[in-house]
Amino acid sequence: MTVELIVVSLFVVLAVAGGVMAARSRQILYNIIGLGISLFGIAGLFLQLGSPFVAAMQLLIYIGGIVVAIVFAMMLSMPMAIDPPARSLPKTIFAAIGSGLFLAGLVGLLNNTTFETRPTAGDEAWAVSRIGNALLEHYNLVFEALSVVLLLAIIGAILIARRDRTPA
């Protein structure tokens, strides 16, 4: 057992456990904490997969930005004191069947597919500057489209969440 394997297993356990917590709990606060833990585990795996930059972005934007935004939304929308209503059993079973089928299908696909693997590229190919160049050269159109989407999201969010000044 190397140290590396232990660390990776830890991340995997974090990702899955967090995911289970996010998916199962009825308390919204635990859902959010679960999501945070899971995202943290995934960021660790990104690190393991050779990209400290993307891992850092995951931590910064996802955990630092998105999860915090969700926390705000929770505080603004739900009275914490109220006990969350129970889920109906048929619905939970239905959801479990649906996602279980999906998982089984994916596992089956994984089982029957042989993936072609290539040796990992050298350190120099993993440099952050390569990502920047790729974003602004080959994926320029995608980059521009994403910027437009973000702008629209900002405008849309403001428009939707704005309090109506005229009495309805």
Partner: protein, 611 residues
Amino acid sequence: MDTTTLILATTFAPFAGFVIAILFLHRSPQLAQVVVTTSAAVALGGAVQLWLNGPAEPLRYLWFTSGAIDLYFGFLLDGLNLMFGVAVALITLCVIVYSIGYMADDPSKTRYFALLAFFEWAMLSFVYAVDLLQSFIFWELVGLASFFLIGFWYQKPSAAEAARKAFLMTRIGDVGLLIGVLLVMMTAGHFDIPGLLDPDVGLVTRLAPATLTAITLLIFVGIVGKSAQFPLHTWLPDAMEGPTPVSALLHSATMVAAGVFLMARLYPLFLAAETTRSVILVVATITALLAATMAMVDRDIKKVLAYSSISQLGFMLMALAAGSLFAGVFHLITHALFKALLFLCSGLFIHHFATNDLEQIGRSGGRGMRLTTIGLLIGGGALAGVPPLSGFFSKEEIFAALGHGGGSAFTIAAFAAAFLTAYYTFRMIFLVTVPDRIEPHTADDHHEGSAEPWTMALPVVVLSLGAALAGGWGDKIAAALGVEISHHSIGDMLPAIGVVAAGVVLAWLDFGRGDRAGFLTRIPALQSLFSNGWHIDEIYRAVFVRITGWVATLLHGMEVKGLDGGFDRFGVGILGAGSGSRRVQSGWVQFYGGCAVVVVGAIAFYVGMGG
């Protein structure tokens, strides 16, 4: 000045006017007027100078590169673009000057003039675009300007509704256009218009006929939306909810002509696609006839003009589809002039008498407004095709083109449409100028000041000259397009003259004397069919409601059979929820999503298990 400076001045002067007006001049509408008028004048000067300089090499600036695709932003300066650019700039300037008088009392003048400048920028950039994607972007911006201007009086529910309808209807067409543009990119690998049209290496030489037909048909779908052709024509009459100068500018002379212009721009592609041209010929003929019949019965002066715009756009597309670029573009230019003139005249009447009703205008003393009446006569004469006004010559070219490449059925249809055009145009003229009685209107009908202030009179004079004389510009237009034209003898023109004369005479018999009822009132079925726009709007409503109903019933069946009590809480709610469409769907999103997931999961399972 060199070409680069000129073209940049032409396209960006209106943009500068828009930005300055919208950002800084909210409190000083007078200044906004001046700024926008100046910018439009600069644009017109630039466009005219470019036209005088003659065709030049296209200018291209690399916007960005994505993968193997280079996107350019630039200006194409050949005869067609330069000519239409001048027409757009001229009419826009006329309309802006006219608006100074027309909108004098409006509280949000700054917004109005800023939007006009925005429109001019988008339209000119579309006209001069060198890159097909650039064309598409500005095509959409022009649509956006149209949306804002139709809904300019957004407090009025009918105007807001009309703006929404226009936007959605044209979007339907734009989906087709976008797919067409993307297909062009997939097959050609670039968007450069001159490159696409090149006779040696262009699209035509590379593509299988079927692909070319698909591309041109998809582009035509966009044209159908923008140029309000059947079956997407229903938005244009409603678009008359906007201010009248806007109708003159966007919804007759320039914006709706953008579709025809796009077809002329990409003409070599259409010329090579035989099937597409037959489709266009049929659609355009239906449109020309259908819209003309609707114009015969409407009492609203702007609606009559709107229907006639649809009909005339159909004429242009007929000419283009029959294989004559010259006839289509010639009519495009003359129509832009005389239709803008007609709208401005109708605006003067509406402004003064505060009514859109033809008979009302006539009875209130419409002919008392001398200049306006003369403008109406010239514009109406040109629209009807009375020699020697401009519309006569361009229509004559269309008949000749149809005779060459259209087949006799289409020629006859064109003559029929021209007859109807003459009839409804002179119906409008007679109702306004020789009313059955004059009702001296009360003093409070009067606006302050002159009925025809100079800001509104001057554009009418300019456009009257244009509409009267443009018939003689055929040679110049042909030279700009680089095509040969043959001149027609008087003998060739006789059928066209005869048709127009017949229409005018019938109109006189119906509306120049007697009860001003029109022969259609004796055929109530047709009268009601025409005045309800052939019930096309109702048909759309019925069909879409029906389809939605079917889908809902289908879902209902799935839900009842597929669940069968498992979701009793929801199921009971569903079944008890009441009657009609309410009953057939639970509205519970997670269930819909769950159904989709189960189906996808089952498929994944099947595939994953090696099925």
